[in-house]
Structures are given as C-alpha cells and as structure tokens.
Symmetry: C2
C-alpha cells in the first residue's frame, strides 16, 4: 500500500476555454476505509465531455464540481482494502471514483464487473455510461425503424460509435459526422457505418448539408446529436417529416460561448420531436442496456477504440484534447 | 346571384416582408356548380399566420400557394347553390374556400356548422382550426398537470388565448406573452391568465427572462410557442427540468430572415421535450377538440376576441397587420 497517492482537484473555473491551470495535481496521505467502506485502486479513469459543464458555476444539469475537491469522474479499478460485506479485496469494480489513484467508497453506485470476457476499460466505454447513453437515446428517443436513416455526430467517439453500430443492427442506414479523414475512414471501414462526413472539410452548415444529403439520399429520420453548432444546423436541414432527435450533447459550444441554432424553422416545418436527455435520469434502462451491450462487445458485434493517456498527471491535457476532438474513440487515463 | 365576384390571387412572392403588391384583386365571372358541386357565399374569411409560409416557394410544410391562383384560406359562409346531396341552399358551412366572395366545393373538407349557439365567425377561431391547434398542442404535447405553469406566446391571439384558458381549466398557472399593454390587460382581466408579459417593453431575451421569472416564480413546465425569437430564448431560460414545448409557430421570423435560437443548451441541460406540429396532421383530434371547444364557447368558459376587416379588398392590409401583431384576437375579413 502506498503511503500517499495523487489526485487532481479543480483549482479554478475556466474563463472560456479550459487550461491546464484550471487543475491542480496534489499528493495526499493514503486514506483508510472506515466501517462499511472499501478502497479501490483505480486502473482506468474515464474522461467525458459532461465534465466540462460541471466545471462551470451552474450552467449544467448537475451540481457544479466544487473547487479544491477531486474532479468527478467514472473509473474502473480493483478493491485493495474492504470493510464492506459486498466487496472483497481483488474485486474489479466500476463507479464514480474521481480523478485519483485511490478512491474510497461505501458501495453506493459501485458495481462489480466481470473482466473475463470484456476488458476492464470497456466498462467505461461501450459497456458503461457512454454505451448506455447511446442505447437509451437511440432506442428510447429516436426509435429507429428498419430502413430508416440514422445520423450521429461525433461518430467515432465513445457514444457515437455505439449509436451507429446499434442502428445498423436495427437495419438502418447509419451516417456519421466525424472530424478528419482518419476518423471517417474508421467509422465506415471498421464500425460499418454506410457513410461518414468530415466536418472539418465544411466551413458552414450549407456546405455540410450538401454532403449530408449525398450521404443520406432518403433524408434523415433519426438524429443523435452530440455536437451542436453547424453539425446540428446542417442535420436539421436534412430531416424528414416526423423525424426524431436525441439531444445528447453540444460539445461544439462547451468550451466557450454557446453556439446559436439558425434552423429553428425545420423543427416546426418538419414536425420534429427533439428531446434532451441525460442517461443518469434513466437508471431503469441501465440493466437491459448493459446486458445487451456486454454481449455485443464480447461477440465483437460492437467494436470500439480507445485513446489512452498514461498517468494521472496526463489527465488535464487529455481532457482538453477531448474537448477539441483530438482523441480517437474513448478517452481514458491509465493509472496502473 | 351576382354575375361576377371578387377574389384575391397571389401576384408575386414576397422578397422579405409581404407588401400589398404581392396580391391582386380580380373580378371574375360567377361560377356555376357542376354535378356534385355546391357554391358558398363567403361571409367571413380567416387570416392566419401559416399563410405567410405558403407564399414562399417551398420553405413551408405544405404546398406553396400557386401564383395567379386564389389565396388559400379558411372561410365560413352559406350555400347559395347546390348539386350536392349532402348540402342544401341555406346551409352554413366552414371550409377552405379561399380569399374570395364565392367558392365552389365538391364537399371535401367542408363541414356544416350550427350557428344557433356559437356564432358563425367562431368556427374560424376558438371552435375552428386555431382552437383545435391550441387543444392539440396543449393536451397532446404539453400534457400539463394541475399546479404546473403553462407559458404561451401571442397570448391574446386566436390560438394563444385558447391555450391559456384551457390551461386554467386544468388547474395550471397560465402566463402569457403579448405585444402591448392593452393586449396584456385583456389577457389577464378578460381571459383570466395569471400574468402577461409585454414583449414590447423588453429589448432582449435577458430582460424578458427576468420578467418571466417574476411571472412564473416556480418556473415554466409547459411552453406553447407561437412566436420564436427572443420570446423563445427567454422562455427556454425559465423552463423547469423535463419541461414540454409545443412548437406551433415562429411568427417573429416569418416575414423576413429566420431568427436564430441562442439558448439551445437549455434543451439539453433541462432535458426538455420539444415537438413541432401542424394541426392538419392530426385529423383524429378534431372531433373531440371541436366538441369540447364548442361547449366551452357556448357556455362562455372560453372567451375570444376578433378584429374584423371589412370587404375583400381589405384582406391584404389586414394580413400584413396580422404578421406585425396589429390585430387583436382573431383576424377576420367580413364579406357579407
């Protein structure tokens, strides 16, 4: 057992873009589990776009991240000390353990995971929160039917990659939007999407809309939106009547000023349904989603890709890269 | 029987704002009903915001209004010649008869109405398309619960006035947005809304949002949106989590450039449901809605107000006034 461990706290709130100075790496004395508690040695830390909202004062849906406290975050690791009857030393677990090498828990929202078939890190990706997000938004909001076209932005990301692969399993045409030719190639060749648009090669919504219309010749019935900005405006101009939009994220506007939506009229004219959602509001969806996703990953029906930063000190830079789209697939930080 | 009658055709498509020159008044020979047809002498013509969309080439949800053809429009009148077994001379009817003094019909979408309790003109307002629009959007999209707050823009208008009165009957707090102190006073004192905000006294969404927060201290659960622009941005900033938005119109942006939506983030953060709708997609809602609305108007549980222009030649100016909010309540043109 280490006598001290490292953690990262929120040092200051971003003024516009996140900078490394918003974080502080601290070395703190090792914590000892109290009665009913257990301690987890974190192996992988998950970095996710939602964390950006928590760093602001109160713009987001959840409580703000408190200053000088350990950054919130999902993680997987192994129990290395336990006074909890439900968890034994050596159990592998996933939970909100934060940006730190060791986390204490009373077992709340902590889940034992089976790493014999699905690797540990996948429980932070396709068999974790991002996967359930994809599953819920697609199945419970978009409700795609065989033969329809599903469009998803940030298509190579942890959520978007699962959306498109699930849509293909329903018998839909899956069209992605991603940043750069390498990601687009991966989305089509590896993930099996029918087409992918590189948003970096389009300067405005009109140009992107033309590309989308070519990629979705029958129009878009379901939009799974992770990005906002011109991606959303272009997508709206391609929606079919009675289309459904799962609004999952607006990452284009997270790290700076909000980006306005020009094409509000499409929502009316095409009689669209749009729903913003947060997967933690729908805990009843997690068990069936995780069961399905676990099977799909184990049998390689769902593929995924990870970008892994090494060591806790790398987390801030990796997180800033995530907001800029520099990751490729699920962004993780490997601590062990 | 007149030997000729007047009609108004679309002379040209608007470039930006509608002008009188976009219309042309014509005097044409009287039409004679063929087999299975009937002729209606139009008493009241309905002017409605949706007509603005039809005047453009293809921006709207329905077919464009064709150039040099009679402007589309709902109307009420009396059958004055009939070769149709279902309609007799003297029957009062409502239907899409257009901007003209006489209309031919084969009976399709033409409905006999009972004017003994509800006046003829009300079938173009609270007991017609605007009333059903209010009923559908409120009951089938907003689904307000007792004690919730319902916000409606264009609250003194044909649709908005019914929305607020129905919301009060459910036991909701009803808050309106209207243009000018006279309309706001009417909305509260006559229609029974709990509060009404004058959008003309607010230059931006922030200022309007402050007024809305005072008028809706528990936040807004249901938004019935007719206007768009800063009304919609302000309303979004006051929505409670899991709020519902019936997007019925965007009149602020009809007569010129579309107005962008700044506060997209609220849709995500507050997990809102938004649905654009057109009442003609939901014909199954009309019979129950009209039955309820007819009873409510007959028993004065729903009040309404009309602005009546005299004579067909007055229709273009009245329509331009409607787009600018110069009408007060339902805008009609009286022909007989």
């Amino acid at each position: 057992m280490d006598q001290t461990y490292q953690r990262i706290v929120l040092a200051s709130r971003p003024q516009g873009r996140v900078t490394p100075a918003n974080f502080r790496l601290e070395c703190v004395p090792q914590s000892i589990p109290g009665p009913g508690q257990l301690r987890v040695r974190v192996h992988y830390l998950s970095l996710d776009p939602y964390m950006r909202g928590r760093m602001d004062e109160a713009k987001s849906y959840a409580e703000s991240q408190k200053l000088d406290e350990t950054m919130i975050g999902g993680a997987v690791g192994v129990v290395d000390a336990s006074n909890h009857p439900g968890f034994a030393v050596g159990d592998t677990v996933v939970g909100l353990l934060g940006w730190q090498e060791y986390g204490l828990s009373d077992g709340t929202m902590l889940t034992k995971i089976d790493t014999r078939v699905v690797p540990m890190s996948a429980y932070l990706g396709p068999v974790g929160m991002p996967g359930v997000t994809a599953w819920y938004g697609l199945n419970c909001i978009c409700e795609p039917k065989r033969g329809e076209t599903v469009l998803v932005s940030a298509a190579s990301g942890a959520v978007g990659s699962v959306v498109g692969q699930l849509a293909k399993q329903v018998g839909c045409r899956a069209v992605g939007i991603a940043g750069g030719p390498e990601k687009c190639e991966y989305v089509v060749d590896e993930l099996g999407f029918d087409a992918c648009i590189d948003h970096r090669s389009h300067a405005d919504a009109q140009s992107m809309a033309r590309a989308l219309r070519a990629a979705a010749p029958d129009g878009v019935d379901c939009l799974f939106e992770n990005v906002g900005g011109i991606c959303l405006d272009a997508a709206l101009s391609c929606m079919n009547p009675f289309g459904r939009i799962a609004l999952c994220g607006l990452i284009a506007g997270y790290d700076g000023a909000d980006i306005a939506l020009a094409n509000v009229r499409a929502l009316l004219v095409m009689r669209l349904k749009l729903r913003g959602f947060i997967v933690s509001d729908h805990m009843d969806a997690w068990p069936p989603a995780l069961a399905e996703l676990g099977r799909a990953v184990a049998t390689e029906k769902i593929k995924y890709r990870e970008t892994i930063a090494e060591g806790l000190a790398a987390a801030p830079k990796a997180f800033i890269g995530l907001l800029a789209g520099r990751n490729f697939g699920k962004q993780l930080v490997k601590l062990v």
